[in-house]
Structures are given as C-alpha cells and as structure tokens.
C-alpha cells in the first residue's frame, strides 16, 4: 500500500493534509521550528563569517605561491625575514615574478579622523608599480602611492577609525599622511582596519626616516607563475633554491594554514558550533512539542485507523512524513528571513555574512534531522496505541 508524501491520486496524503489543514497550527509550527532554524543559520553564518573575514586579505593576494618566515604561527603575526632570502627565487623555473610585501600589525598607529584618538591598524606596503593584491581599487590607485606619505585606506574598516569619513589627511605614528584612495576589504579578528602605502613611505613611517625600504625585512614574498607551470613543481624548485629559514606555501595552503589556526587555536569556531548546537537542540524540542501535540490531539483518529486495519508501520510513516514536511515548511521562510538578517548584522558588525550553498545544505540537513529525530521520540505513543481504548 502506497503512502503519500506528495499528493497522489491513489492514496490519501494524510501527512500533507494534516500539516496544511489547520492554518493556525501550521503557522505556530513554522514559527517555532523556523526560529530555531534561524538561530542555527545565524550561528553558522557567524562561524563562516569569521573564517571568511580572517581569510579576507589572504584571498586577495595576487600570487600562486607565498614565501614567509618559517617561524610564523599565523598569517597575521609580525615575523619578517631578510629580503635577501628571496634572491634566488626569480631564477627558479616557472617563476614569472617575485614581489616583496611588507606588513605590520603592531607598529602603526592611525589617528582616526572620527574621534581624534590613535588606534593600531594593519598595514601593507609594496612597490606601487607592482601591488601584490587582487583588489581592483588597490591596483587602480597604487600609482598614487608614489607620492610621499600617501596612503590608501579600507573604507569598510570599523567606523571608529573614520576611514570612510572622506578625510583627505590624518596622521600615522605622529606623521602627517595624505589619503589618496580607498578599497573595500573589511575588518577581522586581527585588525579593525587596513592601510596600504608604498614601501618607501612604510620605511619612513616605521623607522622615523632612519632606514630605507631595501634594508628592512619583508613579511611575504608573493610569487606569480608563468602560464602553464605546475605549482607543486615550482614549490619544490623554490624549496631547493631558498634558505631553510623561509616557508613556501601555495595560496591554498596558506588559506588552510590560517584556517587551521583560527579553528584550533582561537575561540571563534567552538563558540559558534556550540551556538548552532543549541539551535539544533532547541529546534528538536520545539519540533517534538509540535509533533507530539498534533499526535496527542489526533490519537483517537489514529487509534481508529488501527481499528480499521492500518498497521503501525503506516502510522509511523505518516508521522515521519509529517515531520519532514514540517521541516521543509519551516525551513523556507527561515532561510529567506536569514538572508535579511545576514544583511543587517553584516552591515552593522562589518562581518562578511553570506548564505552559501554549503550552509544551506548543512542547515537543511540539520533541520530535517532534528524534526525526524523528535518524531522518533514521539512515535512511542502511536506504537502503543490500543484501538480498543478508543471507547
């Protein structure tokens, strides 16, 4: 005998009808389960958002291979290596260009045009003719960085830094600087905002004019490959050519390196997984209550079905089908609402909150799972139903 999940002409789609016929009950179920779904999605979004934020800069690097000090424990730690270590890199087969990148997270204080106070900012510096970033605004404005003490800023930085205020000048480390352009990057755990400048300006501001850029150690060597080169082969070639004190990573390996650090060593991951778990448990309990109440209200009807000659298996299928349909009915509005929530919170918290296919898949699987699981708890009553008790 066929059971119906979708309406069919052969058998009565009892689960479908049960779900849809009582509009008020449907609304309550959708609201209840939907909110739990929203909770889960928001937590998962945060988790992903933090990871994405911390990878924001890494993903924007314009190169296939990155060279950095072997003792760096994360992308954002200041641990530069001598520029000379890159000397042999251009000779390695497959290497098209080697671009040095200076970076600092602990030594540049930006005077905010918004409140006049000085704050630590993330700084990147490079040769303006060869900016190692994919950000279109950076490539467009880098020529302007040739002017002395010219900087470009992250207009998506945290508001208190005032980088989007339209100011034309401020101070870095007490020196006046000219703001000649902006790009769109966004903050992360390490930094509240980013400033980019030429290597020459960098040396001047960092060492108070005492050293030149060439003498300063660099944070990264960004390497572009000739078309058709095999990344692994070039990596091996570089490993052979460069000193042991540097580490050679493909861009993807660098992303994994940073992701591992965030996941294992910092707290963001567990917090949001826990939040999502809470959402899951809450959803399960709400869904259990919804299913249980519906079952309890219709126990005489189900007992009557048993009396008519339906076996327990059929009733179980109806209950599970109804649970699955509830999950689907609740998921869609929650998903849609979440898009709005992501937008709102993302704008306020400056976190890149996106709905991805993976998140949708995972959260839907979790939603379905929690509804089916709670149905499994509720069906004991149906199994135990004694049709004779209908009297």
């Amino acid at each position: 005998m066929t059971i119906a999940i979708a309406p069919s002409t052969r058998s009565v789609p009892l689960a479908w009808r049960n779900l849809l016929s009582n509009k008020r009950r449907l609304a309550r179920a959708v609201a209840g389960i939907g909110f739990a779904v929203l909770l889960m999605l928001v937590q998962l979004g945060f988790k992903q958002g933090f990871f994405d934020a911390s990878l924001g800069v890494v993903r924007q690097l314009d190169g296939a291979i990155i060279v950095m000090h072997a003792t760096k424990y994360r992308f954002g730690s200041e641990d530069p290596f001598p520029r000379a270590d890159l000397a042999k890199a251009p000779n390695v087969a497959g290497v098209a260009s080697v671009t040095p990148l200076y970076a600092s997270w602990l030594h540049f204080f930006w005077k905010s045009p918004a409140d006049g106070k000085s704050y630590l900012v993330q700084v990147f510096a490079f040769d303006p003719d060869d900016p190692p970033f994919l950000l279109p605004a950076v490539r467009a404005d880098s020529a302007r960085l040739k002017a002395p003490d010219a900087v470009i800023v992250d207009r998506l930085a945290r508001p208190f830094l005032g980088m989007a205020s339209g100011a034309r000048a401020t101070e870095l480390n007490g020196h006046p600087v000219q703001i000649v352009g902006s790009f769109a990057l966004g903050p992360d755990f390490m930094s509240d905002g980013t400033v980019m400048m030429s290597a020459a300006s960098y040396a001047r501001l960092l060492t108070d004019n005492r050293a030149s850029a060439a003498s300063l150690p660099i944070e990264f060597g960004v390497i572009k490959l000739r078309p058709g080169s095999d990344v692994g082969a070039v990596e091996r070639g570089l490993r052979a050519a460069l000193p042991a004190g540097v580490r050679i990573l493909s861009k993807r390996q660098l992303e994994e390196f940073e992701t591992d650090f965030q996941a294992n060593l910092s707290s963001a991951g567990p917090i949001f997984w826990m939040g999502a778990l809470v959402g899951f448990i809450v959803g399960m309990l709400i869904s259990y209550q919804v299913i249980y109440t519906d079952l309890a209200d219709q126990l005489p009807q189900y007992a009557t079905l048993k009396g008519m000659g339906y076996n327990t298996f059929y009733l179980l299928r109806v209950v599970f089908a109804q649970a699955a349909l509830s999950a689907a009915a609740a998921y869609v509005p929650a998903w849609l609402l979440c898009l709005v929530v992501y937008r709102v919170i993302g704008d306020v918290a400056l976190l890149p909150l996106h709905m991805t296919a993976m998140q949708t898949l995972i959260s839907f699987a979790l939603t379905l799972g929690m509804c089916l699981l709670s149905a499994a708890f509720a069906i004991r009553r149906v199994v135990a139903l004694d049709p004779a008790e209908v009297f």
């Binding site: 003792t71 630590l120 567990p270 939040g275 709400i286 209550q289």
Partner: protein, 376 residues
C-alpha cells in the same frame, strides 16, 4: 489553596506536565547560554583587571583598551603619591614579545606583564606565593591557561623571548582574558632586559591604592588636578564602563553575541508562552467544572498563576545546572570566561517568572474570550 490545586493538576497528568517543564527548561537554558556568551565578552576584557589590586588606575590619555594602553611617564606616580588619601602608586608594564622554544619552532606572540612582586599588584594565589621566583634573573611565571601552541609549560623549561633565553619558573592560574593567546609575568628588571629598547621612564599602568576611608571619587578629582594632561585617572567603575564599551561596541563582538541573545530571547519567550498556553488550554474542562461548582474568575487566575510559578521553579534549577555544566565546557574550549553572577541569575529568574505569569494569565484571558458560553 491555589497552590494545592495547581500541584494536584500538575501531578495528575505527569506526561503533559513533564513536557511543559521541558519546554520551559529549554527556554531558560537557551537564554542562559546566549547570555553567558554575551556577558563573557566584557568579562573577558575585564578579567585581568578584576584580579589586580587598585582603587584608581592611571593610564595614558591615549588608552584604548588593555592591550593598546600606550604609556605615560613614571614620574606621574611620584606626583600621585603626594595626593592625600593615596597609599600606594605602583607601576605595571606591558609588552609583546615573541616566544620560541629553545629548539626553535614557531615564534608566537605573548603578552608580558612586568610588575614589582612586593607591591602585591595581583590578587591571585599562584602569583603572590611566587615572588621569589620572579626575583630570579631571566625567569618568568606563565599563565596556566596559555594555549597549547606554546608547548608544554613545565617548570624549568628553557624558552626564548624575543631571542633572549628565559626559564619558566612557575605557573599561575588567572586567565589570559583578551590579552592574547598567552600571558607571562616578570619583575621590572627582567622586563627591561626583555625589552631593552623600551624607554625606562615610561609605564603602561599606575595602580593607585587608597588609604582606608578615602573616597575614590574625591581622590580621583584631586589627582586629575595635579597630574599632567598626558595621563588620565579612572575609577574601577569608570574603567569597567570604558573597557566593556570597547568590547561590545567597537569590536562588534557585542553586536554579534547580542544578536544571538536577542534571537534566543525571542525564541525563549515564544517557547515559554507556547508551553504555558497549551498547559492552560488543556484544562478547559476542569475550569468549566470549577466554574460550575462556584469558583470565581479570580480563583481560576490564582490557580493558573500558581501552575506557572510551579512549572518555572521546577524547570529553573535543572536549566541552571545544565547551563553551568555548559559554561565549564565553554570556558575550557574557548577563551571566554562564561559565568553568571548571582545578580544576573536573579535577573533571569525574575524575568522568567514575570514572563511565565504573564503568559499564563494572557492565555487564560484568551481562553475566556474564546469560550464565553462554556465556562465564563
């Protein structure tokens, strides 16, 4: 009397009552957890300060938050000592160094706090007892909750800080707060050996303790009058306000965890209402019978309220227990010092009770309007 009736009613249908208690349990637990996360952020920011002894804090006027404190001249402390009511003005230094194992490996950022052990700046057991250790040359005390990436924190282990060989002299338990992944303590002599390029006349914090009976606000005002404009004076309350404001508003963690809390609150209230409304609606026949034998509406209200209170009481304690268990896990797995003070606990309880009572009465009112002929 209404409590007796409520007890009988709840005890009669154990299954349904258990479900109702379960529902309220979930709602309260959810709020506890999200509240714990939300409050943990400012608590994390204040963790180290909360373990330091001072009545007033001197910092640079450019102070942003603990890890970005800037510096101010040490002679301000000498000036402060002259102000009546000030008993002690102790310098505390803060710097970032690169920690590396003796055999090499990754160089990891660690925060170094320098202070005079004799000044009793820290109110933590593992620190006060180890002044002798701190006095040793090139020896550090390391916080036990320093993350595993730093390697084993065994006493006697040799490491380098910014290339300088040091020995781990001991461990203490306080917490790293939001200073970073690891914190170590040294005495001022060791501090300036680790940071030789640091100007010796500059400090990060001035811990001011007052004589007994002195009024912190009055002394603060007096200090502000005599101190140069490159320093500022913060009371404990003012410091807390400022630090918490930084973490919750400037960094956006407040918004993120706050939004989680708001969603949790909404969901929690919804569940609470739903549970109690169902509970009340189920008893329509009993209410009809009670009205028929002469009970007044007020009596029904009392019974329903009593039920709500009983359910809330029965659900609250288990939820509290579960929440605390979860807090332990959270504290272990994350840097967040999740916990709830008795005041916050009480607030959750009071709010929950109020919402439960409101839900119960409201749903009774709806029932009344829906079935005027039946029972009312």
């Amino acid at each position: 009397m209404p409590f007796e009736v409520a007890c009988r009613v709840l005890a009669h249908q154990k299954g349904r009552t258990a479900l109702a208690i379960g529902g309220v349990f979930v709602a309260i637990l959810l709020i506890f957890i999200e509240l714990g996360f939300f409050l943990a952020v400012p608590q994390g920011g204040m963790l180290i300060y909360d373990h330091m002894r001072f009545d007033l804090l001197l910092v640079s006027k450019d102070y942003v938050f603990m890890a970005q404190s800037w510096q101010f001249p040490q002679r301000a402390l000498a000036v402060a000592l002259k102000v009546p009511g000030v008993a002690q003005a102790t310098p505390v230094y803060l710097g970032d160094a690169k920690w590396q194992g003796a055999a090499g490996g990754p160089r990891i950022d660690i925060s170094i706090i320098g202070f005079d052990p004799g000044s009793r700046a820290f109110a933590a057991a593992g620190i006060e007892s180890r002044s002798a250790v701190l006095a040793r040359a090139d020896t550090i005390l390391v916080d036990g909750s320093t993350r595993p990436i730093f390697g084993p924190l065994t006493v006697g282990r040799k490491i380098t800080l910014d290339g300088r060989p040091m020995t781990i002299g001991g461990r203490y338990r306080l917490g790293t707060g939001f200073l970073g992944l690891g914190v170590a303590l040294v005495d001022p002599e060791n501090f300036f050996r680790i940071f030789p390029r640091r100007p010796s006349g500059q400090v990060n914090f001035g811990l001011v303790t007052l004589r007994p009976g002195a009024d912190p606000d009055k002394v603060a005002a007096a200090l502000r009058a005599v101190l140069p404009t490159d320093t500022q004076v913060l009371t404990r309350a003012g410091l807390t306000r400022q630090e918490v404001a930084y973490w919750t508003t400037k960094t956006g963690t407040g918004i993120i965890f706050g939004s989680g809390l708001v969603v949790a609150f909404i969901v929690g209230i919804m569940i609470l209402y739903q549970t109690l409304a169902t509970q009340v609606a189920r008893q329509l026949p009993q209410f009809a019978m009670l009205k028929a034998i002469g009970y007044r509406n007020r009596a029904l209200n009392a019974i329903v309220l009593a039920e709500a209170v009983l359910i809330m009481l029965l659900a609250f304690l288990p939820a509290l227990g579960a929440a605390f268990a979860l807090y332990i896990v959270i504290r272990r797995e994350t840097l967040l010092p999740a916990t709830l003070s008795p005041a916050e606990l009480g607030a959750v309880f009071a709010t929950g009770l109020a919402m439960a009572a409101a839900s119960a009465l409201f749903s009774l009112g709806r029932l009344r309007r829906a079935h005027p002929a039946d029972i009312f």
